[in-house]
Symmetry: C2
């Protein structure tokens, strides 16, 4: 497997064509796209291109937002944006953990003030699968190549410290790969193994992208193991009722 | 970043020198080790080499093990091994989620009946950091190269479906990389970002290894982002009291 940082992508603004920008980066670096490649794109640039950026000066926080902001030492206007993205508050204690309307459980409902202009925050794309599909379609149109696209974000986790990348949107890749019935090295069929390639690839991609001023908002992965196909990111979400870890 | 599967490693048994076996695989594949490379090794072969393999025929399950086995439809002798590895039972419902004596929260306390001879199970290494250090030291002795070593296992997760790789032991790499204070693309210092490179690398390594009969129990990673140094895997564990996701 090979992982190429897609660097020198200009700062992204509303209406920019992310697929186009990724292809230009590939071209500058003389990376040839092939069928089966995987492109992982940071949530931040997709959100900026789609206008999922909120100017905090335009936000009037509710009294509830003010109360929570007080509790966690956050800007009440940012909390207002977070609550608008929130289906359910999971925990308020130092930080705000919520379940977003997509079904993701993460800090601040994915609302982020890093790598965006001062006084602004990005929200997760409204429908990250659609965002991924749009990029994939553009790449297909321009190159004829069938790639898979993952939209990624970096999150903290239960039980473990340190953020890692997660997939928040996917296109051209089955979110879950069911290995049940495949034989192990002793010929015994696997009984329970189902894996999540989009999360594994988002994890390493986020590490390659960096979180600071690396200016690498996307990576190209060659030789990754995955099942091409359609699917949606909600397939990766454990329903609250069936979450045996909670 | 480049990820090379270390294939054609023979079936590992008690007392085998895992470091040696990895180097032989590199040699056969003409992969040259360099300073800064990362070797990720599956828990299964480390456990086998260290004798962390239990023959179920030798196990006499307690009445508690029998009761739990009944509830989850599992072999009571395997449950007995799991409970011996368990510090605290997190959940018993279809599966057994426990916190191991290392502090990891995972299904079956990491006890695994796949990729081991019929009637046997592997347990996690007693001290996976020591296991990683031993392999790293062997590689240093034989090649003079300073690599980092991660021992990995595949686990399910709260909130998300599908297994991904996690680091269970580490040597030569700081488990957490603190990016607070580094500037983002707009020159604003990051306030909270701490990342977990060992988990990100274990995630992609497990995908490359496969879970079935691929016969790739280790991978070599070139060009990974990490901070060389000493540290222990417990630094990656969120203490129960500070787990804001629970």
């Amino acid at each position: 497997m090979e992982i190429f940082p897609l660097s020198e992508i200009p700062l992204v603004g509303l209406g920019d064509d992310v697929g186009e920008l990724l292809l230009e980066s590939c071209e500058r670096q003389r990376i040839e796209l092939e069928d089966g490649d995987v492109v992982v794109v940071a949530q931040s640039i997709v959100s900026k291109a789609e206008g999922n950026v909120m100017d905090l000066t335009s936000i009037e926080p509710s009294s509830r937002s003010k109360r929570i902001a007080d509790e966690i030492g956050e800007d009440p206007r940012k909390v207002e944006v977070i609550l608008n993205q929130t289906e359910e508050i999971v925990r308020v204690k130092h930080v705000l953990i919520s379940r977003t309307h997509h079904g993701f459980v993460c800090a601040d409902a994915g609302v982020d003030s890093s790598n965006v202009e001062a006084g602004k925050v990005t929200k997760l794309p409204e429908n990250p699968d659609v965002s991924a599909k749009k990029i994939r379609k553009r790449i297909k149109e321009k190159t004829g190549k069938e790639v898979a696209v993952i939209i990624s974000d970096s999150w903290g986790r239960p039980f473990r410290l340190g953020a890692v990348g997660f997939a928040v949107g996917v296109s051209g890749m089955k979110p879950l790969m069911d290995l049940r019935g495949r034989k192990d090295i002793y010929g015994v069929p696997l009984e329970t193994t189902i894996i999540a390639p989009p999360d594994s690839l988002a994890a390493v991609a986020s590490l390659e992208m960096g979180e600071a001023n690396e200016r690498v908002p996307a990576v190209l992965i060659k030789g990754a193991t995955y099942e091409p196909g359609e699917g949606c990111i909600s397939e990766l979400i454990r329903s609250k009722e069936k979450d045996l870890f909670r």
